[in-house]
Amino acid sequence: MVKEKIKQAKIKEEKWELRLYIAGNTPKSMTALANLKKYCEQHLPDKYTLEIIDLLVQPQLAAGDQIFAIPTLVRKVPVPIRKIIGDLSNEEKVLVGLNIRPVKK
């Protein structure tokens, strides 16, 4: 049900296309979503699009991105495709996984 697109208006050369697969509003999914949003805002301001796909609603989409674990974050762009599974609680791992250079605080 939760299918929302958050688009940042600004178009930059480097754009991040992210997809988060969840299955209903489970605590794990919610944690993952919250974490992801936090990291993106922090490190990729205006440089990303995030699509949230609820497999309970659209189960047919699971095969396309080879989803077997929930929650799974897929980085579609830039290639190569990367996947991070879990509730994304470890910020460092997520950033490494997405190959994002963290913004110095």
Partner: protein, 569 residues
């Protein structure tokens, strides 16, 4: 209270796999609505086994199935099984099969924090619901262990998955790699405990044999042996070593062996239909000739014969049998006689058995000849050969097919057991051995056993001539058993003796005749002599009488004269 309540055994509902032989071993198939684990080493045939389960379910039982692969792409799999004649593409189009390839690449996955495998569940659920699947295959789910590091989560999720599959009511087949000392590398047998089937691929003496064993089957009986199985162009066929029952139909019909003398030895009628006949003997004793004669006789009765030649090529057999007056070519042309020649070492025994099976089901012959079974030993070990033959005989008898084996005895001493040890399995056992006397060898044939009929205990001489085969009574005289030319010589000398006796008898008759004649003439002369004497005697009497008479007369005259004189005086 009812007088007697019938004990109703609640049998486990089963899903037939459709794999030839497996349903027989498992007495009906796999547990319905439960997961079954198929484990085995690399190349044991797990994937094919699983695919066949689904494909046969779809084709033969109208049960749609889902194949989830973790190893091969759907396209690759399609290609692999296309060689077996399974058109997965078409079946997918028809909505009977749905394939899903779950690709797990460790290099593109990062794990952080809590997760579960709901994604897999959802995909599976989606696939099952989309076609109303009754069968599910997960091949090989252990790949998850390679892709994910958090084993704790994985194990919990697998347990949940199997429970969920059960709840879903699908009959699932899960394949897993055989571990070191354990059934599966990651201990999946812990979770799937209803039915476990182990596949094995062994190479013994350079010949490979695939085997299958039902390790466990909760709530059901099952065959516990290791059963060889084959993968050929028709898929998998498991061959139960023996069918679990011994309840073959029997026929009391008799069929001729093609040799009059042989039929005579077998209670005058020949073999039983559907029986198994073993012809054993040393090299060159004419085993193939007996088999070919039997085949010829059957073809003359318009029965179909399938001849498995493991030693000679069909052309060679036809040519050779021409020398004893058998024209097999005409039967081949008439479509009654079929040859199947193959080298025993061409492939393993199991393969031989399957080829034989297949040919038999294809041609439906009434008579099958295997010539010789001895050569199969070169393709396998002795116990294997025996097990093959047991199964073959079993199979043939259940189909009422008469089978003749020929076997070579390696030594000239006739063993009570043939080398293959099949003698206890066969119904009729004919042995030919050389009887070596007077610097020649002759074939002696005898019947070692023949179940269910009076059979001759005599050793008969087996003669192969231009006109075919025949059995001759051996000469059993005061000098012992005579065969071959000795027998012929004896027969000739006997004939001469008879002639001589006849001649000598005639001479004696004549002698007696002559003697009688002589005697008769003697008697006649004696008679004459007697008559003469009698005549003489009677003459004497007459003379005496005459003399008496004259004397009387004279005396009378004298006395008269005297009286007349006195008166004058």
């Amino acid at each position: 209270m009812a007088a007697k309540k019938k004990i109703t055994k609640t049998t486990l509902p089963k899903t037939p796999t459709g794999i030839i032989g497996l349903d027989e071993i498992t007495l009906g198939g796999l547990p319905k609505g439960r997961p079954t684990l198929i484990c085995g080493g690399a190349g044991a045939g797990k994937t094919l086994f699983a695919i066949e389960f689904v494909v046969r379910g779809a084709m033969e039982y109208g049960e749609p199935g889902v194949i989830v692969t973790f190893e091969e792409k759907a396209e690759d799999l399609q290609m692999n099984v296309a060689s077996l004649g399974y058109d997965l593409k078409k079946m997918q189009k028809d909505g009977m099969i749905r394939m899903d390839f779950v690709h797990i690449d460790r290099s593109e996955i990062e794990e952080t924090g809590e997760y579960d495998l709901s994604g897999l569940f959802i995909r599976l659920n989606h696939a099952i619901d989309a076609i109303g699947a009754k069968r599910v295959v997960l091949d090989t789910i252990e790949n998850l262990f390679g892709g994910l590091t958090n084993e704790g989560i994985l194990r919990a999720e697998l347990r949940r998955l199997f429970a969920w599959l059960k709840e879903k009511g699908v009959t699932a087949m899960i394949t897993a790699e055989k571990g070191d000392g354990t059934l599966t590398r990651h201990g999946l047998e812990e979770y799937v405990s209803d039915c476990v089937i182990l596949l094995d691929h062994r190479v013994i003496d350079q010949i490979s044999t695939r085997r299958l064993r039902v390790v466990k089957y909760r709530g059901s009986e099952h065959g516990t042996n290791e059963y060889p199985f084959l993968i050929d162009e028709d898929g998998i066929s498991v061959l139960p070593i023996t069918s679990l029952q011994l309840d073959n139909k029997v026929s009391s019909q008799r069929i001729s062996s093609g040799i009059a003398g042989m039929d005579q030895m077998l209670d005058g009628n020949g073999y039983f239909r559907g029986s198994s006949i073993l012809v054993s003997g040393t090299a060159g004793t004419g085993k193939t000739s007996i088999a070919a004669t039997f085949a010829d006789a059957a073809c003359r009765r318009k029965e179909r014969v399938l001849y498995f030649a493991f030693e000679e090529s069909p052309a060679q057999i036809i040519r050779n049998m021409g020398s004893i007056g058998l024209s097999l070519q005409q039967h081949v042309d008439a479509g009654l006689l079929h040859f199947h020649a193959s080298r025993p070492t061409l492939y393993g025994l199991e393969m031989h058995l399957v080829t034989i099976h297949k040919k038999i089901t294809e041609l439906k012959p009434r008579i099958v000849i295997l010539d010789p079974i001895t050569n199969l030993i070169t393709a396998g070990l002795m116990p294997e050969v025996k097990s093959i033959l047991i199964r073959l005989i079993d199979f043939l008898q259940s189909n009422q097919i008469t089978v003749m084996f020929t076997a070579l005895n390696l030594n000239t001493i006739v063993n009570e057991q043939t080398d293959e040890g099949v003698s206890s399995l066969v119904d009729t056992w004919i042995t030919i051995k050389y009887i070596e006397t007077n610097a020649e060898r002759n074939r002696g044939l005898y019947i070692m056993k023949s179940r269910g009929m009076k059979h001759s205990n005599k050793v008969r001489e087996f003669v192969i001539s231009d006109d075919g085969l025949d059995l001759v009574d051996v000469y059993n005289g005061p000098d012992g058993i005579l065969t071959g030319s000795a027998r012929e010589a004896q027969q000739v000398s006997e004939a001469t003796g008879a002639e001589m006796r006849k001649y000598s008898l005639g001479r004696k008759d004549k002698q007696i005749d002559r003697k009688r004649k002589a005697l008769e003439s003697k008697i006649a002369s004696l008679h004459e002599e007697f008559d003469t004497i009698q005549d003489e005697l009677s003459q004497t009497y007459i003379e005496e009488d005459l003399r008496k008479e004259i004397m009387e007369k004279n005396r009378h005259q004298l006395s008269q004269k005297q009286s007349n004189g006195k008166r004058k005086n």
